[in-house]
Amino acid sequence: MDYATILQILDSAVRLMTPLLLACLAGLYSERAGVFDIGLEGKMLMAAFSAAATAAVTGSVWLGLVAGILAAVGMSLIHGLAAITFRGNQLISGVAINFLASGLTVLLGQSWFALGGRTPSLEGAARFGSITLPGAETLRSIPVLGPFYAEVVSGHTALVYVAALLVPGTWWLLYRTRFGLRLRAVGENPASVDTAGVSVPRLRWAAVAICGMLTGLAGAYLATGLSAGFVKEMTAGRGYIALAALIFANWRPWRALGATFLFGLMEAVANRYPELDMGFVTIPSMVMSALPYLLTVIILAGFIGRATPPRAGGEPYVKER
């Protein structure tokens, strides 16, 4: 394997990890505040559809992005209403959101565009274009680092860089600000926040809204950055993979970056080598493309490390008597 191939795989891994990273950070905000969110998948799907449909109709990827965010935030509000205001079961609400998105996207897609649930292919200003970072071409001649900068770091769409910046941003918000302190507290022991005179529901609503915005970014990237249009069930379980990555990352932003990169890398390798020839044995393509999902199962079964979820996660807050 030569250096150029490695760079290609890494470049592809960065693209593929971006929706996972955005969704993983979305889940991080929600779950750190004590609201478990199994509906990341549905929100991403809804956002992908809204972004692609809007971009197809208006020809503007930015309007598509706004529509994607609005759609995901809308779904988040449903989850918040069920989980926070009505103190319902967060798993059931999340599953409902996934089913709703899965059905609604195909139904609306078919009735608006009559393409069997797809949206029309996007091109030009209806897609996110790649951004060449300054100096990418001039620095290319520097050995090793030059090509790495030009191939892997430069040349992505805006949302990839947004996702990358969100990692230190989230870390700073969580550990260096009042909002972050309260957010973490409300996911560990909401009574401590309540007795300190701070509203538990307001904090959780804020977290759920941020979660909606980030899944909106993830979905929009999927349909208008990574692909050129919406396809039925195009999230393909990425919401669940993001959840697995979140557990693997132990609900911490920098580790989320590492965990989602691992998943992105696996997907990239599987794409590059559909049938991996190991010399003595050839690994069939089914196994290769199942790799990220296998890793998800292994992580969720708790084989890797010990994850300590936010203590109050999944529990509606009720003042005790």
Binding site: R176, R178, R184, E188, D194, G197
Partner: protein, 535 residues
Amino acid sequence: MALPGTQATAPPAIELRGISKAFGPVQANRDISLVVPAGTIHGIVGENGAGKSTLMSILYGFYRPDAGQILVGRRDAGITDSQSAIRAGIGMVFQHFKLVPNFTVVENVILGAEDGALLAPSVSRARKELRRLAAEYQLDVNPDAVVETLSVGHQQRVEILKALYRQADILILDEPTGVLTPAEADHLFRILKGLRDRGKTVILITHKLREIMEITDNTSVMRRGEMVATVPTRETSPEQLAELMVGRKVLLRVDKAQAAPGTPILELSGLRMVDRAGVERLRGIDLTVRAGEILGIAGVSGNGQTQLLDILGGYPEAGAQVTGTARLAGRTLPLSGTDARARRHAGIGNIPEDRQAEGLVMDFSAWENTVLGRHRDAGTALMDNDAIRSRAAAQMERFDVRPRDPELAAKNFSGGNQQKIVVAREIESRPILLLVGQPTRGVDIGAIEFIHRRLIELRDAGAAILLVSVELDEIMALSDRIAVMFDGCIMGERLPDATSAAELGLLMAGASPSGIPPEQGQPDPDEREPAKGVI
């Protein structure tokens, strides 16, 4: 009693007028008025469910009262939520701490009282402030320690620091000593006296009359949601307070005949236990409990008592190595490879330390709970629910479980009545050996008296009883012999009539028994007082 004007002359720190609060059909507080003079320690006593905690939660703005007024420093405080209570200078230390376990002390202290959107300035100010408070009130805690690594006593200090950091002038503590060792409780009382001496007002909610007598200036008594009396503490007595709490005369001493010990029922020798982490929890326990006697095990919690009870109950900690020999009524009792069912079958009854986790299934009804552990006795897979129900109803009658509703879920009974359900089940199974762990933890005075009487009756009927309690008074009142446990060892055995609380306290702290020969000199009468069993 409760006459206005009999109060101390200090201006009131806080005044409640006609507070009422109902939860559905339950009137938790009914028309409560109370004046707490500034710079005093004011005790509030009452049985579980008397409405003490509700009243204090109203004062802290955690609940809104249905009617009534709260005045702080003679002005309507306008307390509508915790935020406004904090602004009015009220701080609260809840019975179950409201701390974030994986936050540091300083993070917990500033939570909700940050100076601005960024944390750094708040943290550095809080650090400085914590140092000052630590020096002023003996509240030493490392500001950077993670709260879950601190002892319970230190966690409580963090709660007090939280209130003081918010400049509370009135500090409410709800059952603060329930989780503390005697030494920690003493330290807490010194802190509270220090707070009072610097002009703060302390409200102490408790059901332990000894604490009331020890540190309060005035005492208010609540019963069934009403305030029945407020008296200067030095003009009252534990007997009078107990009578006010329960509404009838209460026997604070346990009347019992001399024990008539028979044959050995439980014989332990060289019992050792090493837990999964490799820590030796029991280091060679030798004990004998005879038929018709109560052997009390005194000790600060965490010195191996729990492990001893768990092993005897047939459910040792997972991965623990248990060695040594045990005999039950002369027959060898296997120490490993056994289970709780076999133990029950062998005639060992068990009133576990944590009734909510081990004694009851909280969501099951009372009648279902009365057959737990005995549900196989009928020998058929089908349960005769009608028979169980009617037997449960009779049992609840005999043990005065209130309300007498076998269909009610265990979680809806008060702590004392939950414990009575467990005690009834275990005593009525006619054990030859009864294991009893913390039988009256969180149980109100009337129920304590009742449970103690039943244990004595079981002893007199010829059962052997192994009693573990961290309440020294309880041990001294009930036991026929007392063994003191420290760090997995039995430090010594004493007869309750020939020892003192002070001597037992030394043994509990790990002092070598040879250092204080029991026969040397009579303990002075004051120290012997608790030996007679004042609760």
